[in-house]
């Protein structure tokens, strides 16, 4: 199958049209800028921590529907979670999309991106925001 819905599930189209947590934070602890050089997708991510949790998270960026929807889904999923939990979840996402691992329940809505693994050229689009958040959480 190579249908539109393989890549662009309804949830993805919805997030693409109405991105959650889009914008900037007045105060934040971490800011990460990342570019997907092969296609020019860009993301800028701001995170505010509190008590070992992601208190708030917002992104801005320019890119394709996949990369923007993926960023939106990511912020929605990780906002409020424990930092270590967030690290684990983002690794799971990257594993699912990059190496075709089966989706795990933790990923909730983000599971809809599992189809991207069959489109190697779009993998970087879907994982950009997740790599960015990993960076924000790591150091």
């Amino acid at each position: 199958m190579r249908d539109f819905s393989d890549l662009y599930a309804e949830i993805i189209m919805d997030h693409q049209k109405h991105p959650r947590n889009f914008g900037t934070l007045p105060i934040f602890d971490k800011e990460v800028q990342m570019t997907n050089s092969s296609c020019g997708d860009q993301i800028s991510l701001q995170v505010k921590f509190e008590d070992g949790k992601i208190k708030d998270i917002k992104f801005k960026g320019m890119g394709c529907a996949i990369s923007m929807a993926s960023a939106s889904v990511m912020t929605e999923l990780l906002k409020g979670t424990d930092v270590n939990e967030a690290k684990r979840i983002s690794s799971e996402f990257i594993e699912m999309v990059t190496n075709g691992k089966a989706p795990v329940d933790d990923l909730k809505d983000a599971q809809v991106f599992s189809g991207v693994s069959k489109y190697p050229m779009r993998v970087k689009c879907a994982t950009l925001a997740w790599h960015a958040v990993q960076k924000a959480l790591s150091d």
Partner: protein, 411 residues
């Protein structure tokens, strides 16, 4: 023209009858990236390994001789195709290696601090980065000629940029971003008047129009086999005979030497001295077969055919709402490449939706970031449909329908 371009030649290309897993017929419009191969070329590769293969110019036996003859014949075929002499033809792995060979082999010897290197903003990264890096190595000035708003080159601007300090002027015969045919003869004239060498990147122009190195008076011309029906892994570097001695051997090793002593090495004559290691005879034979195929079709006819498709696509798409078409409106300045965007949809998404409709195009920066940045193209990327001998108007009809589908889905 013996062949009818479009549907008739299409029959020679097995891959063009591909049906995608979703049942859609393949419409291949990514020819500026790489072209498909006719069965004649595919068979030539297989036959080479079934009947000819040996190492070249080294082994005095039956297959060794057959291979050497095949390799020399391929060189002659390439030379004839661009009106060069066979000693002026160096086989490389592709345009990128050809240009690096010039930048290192000629540039490092002949460009010094304070000299200038002039390239166009519309150059492909492969005709941009090697020159920029050479300039950085040598502390030379890297000057990038700005463009008109439609992406074309203004000759007067080139004149202002090229000075007596300019050592190299590099320019594509046809740009891969917007398919613009550059006025190489005029630019070459400006380069030579200032004593600079003139380097033409023929990766897009050689496959699509007649090329005459004498007429364009190029000192160097590079092109790739895979963009003109030939196999991957083979390319050409033409070097004008009168300057070939100023090109220093770049890659060294077997086959390009005269005598190797512990403290020094003397090199063979041109073109051997520029082909280190076992050459890609398969590639050369495949390219020669491709050239014979193209020659039979006639290069004039190819450009005409591409323009016909471009005109048709342009006409159909210019009336489509939200579609932005890049490049000059004067088709005399263009080959069969159409870069476009759909307002509000990222070109990657356009490409994916077109793909779901069976249409293969390319999206992205097309290894041409400088021009996209310069012209402030949205997303720093475009969708690009590019046509070749086997495309027909009906392919463009499918493209237009797919674009409508994209618009509907991202309404």
């Amino acid at each position: 023209m013996q062949y009818r371009l479009g549907s008739e030649v299409k029959k020679d290309f097995p891959i063009l009858s591909t049906v995608l897993p979703n049942g859609k017929r393949l419409v291949y419009l990514d020819n500026a990236a790489t072209t498909q191969k006719p069965i004649q070329v595919i068979n030539a590769l297989a036959d080479f390994y079934k009947f000819t293969n040996a190492n070249v110019a080294r082994s005095a036996h039956y297959l060794g001789e057959k291979t050497t003859i095949a390799y020399n014949d391929a060189r002659k075929e390439v030379a004839k195709f661009i009106n060069a002499d066979q000693d002026e033809i160096i086989f490389t792995s592709g345009t990128t290696e050809s240009i690096n060979t010039i930048a290192y082999g000629w540039g490092d010897e002949n460009v010094s601090e304070g000299d200038e290197i002039v390239v166009m903003t519309s150059e492909h990264h492969s005709d941009f980065v090697p020159w920029q890096q050479l300039a950085l190595r040598k502390k030379a000035h890297f000057k990038v000629v700005p463009l008109r708003e439609d992406g074309t080159i203004d000759i007067d601007t080139v004149k202002r940029y090229v000075t007596s300090k300019t050592k190299v002027v590099a320019c594509a015969g046809m740009t891969n971003s917007f398919g613009i045919i550059n006025p190489v003869e005029e630019i070459g004239h400006i380069a030579h008047k200032s004593g600079a060498v003139f380097v033409v990147d023929g990766a897009q122009s050689v496959p699509s129009m007649p090329t005459d190195v004498k007429r364009m008076d190029a000192d160097f011309l590079s092109f790739s086999g895979h963009k003109m029906l030939g196999p991957m892994g083979i390319g050409v570097l033409y070097v004008k005979k009168s300057i070939i001695e100023s090109l220093k051997p770049f890659l060294t090793g077997g086959g390009m030497i005269d005598e190797v002593k512990n403290d020094s090495t003397t090199f063979a004559c041109a073109p051997d001295r520029y082909e280190a290691g076992t050459p890609n005879v398969e590639g050369a034979v495949g390219l020669a077969t491709a050239i014979r195929y193209l020659r039979e079709i006639g290069m004039e006819g190819i450009l005409e055919h591409e323009r016909d498709l471009l005109g048709y696509a342009y006409e159909r798409l210019s009336s489509v709402d939200r579609v932005i078409l890049y490049g000059p409106k004067n088709f005399e300045k263009r080959g069969g490449i159409l870069s476009f965007n759909i307002r509000g949809i990222h070109p990657h998404d356009v490409a994916s939706i077109l793909d779901a409709n069976g249409v293969a195009i390319r999206s992205g920066h097309h290894c041409a970031q400088p021009i996209l940045r310069y012209l402030n193209v949205e997303f720093m990327a475009t969708a690009r449909a590019s046509f070749y001998i086997y495309n027909e108007r009906s392919d463009i009809d499918v493209l237009v329908d797919a674009i409508e589908d994209a618009k509907r889905r991202f309404s």
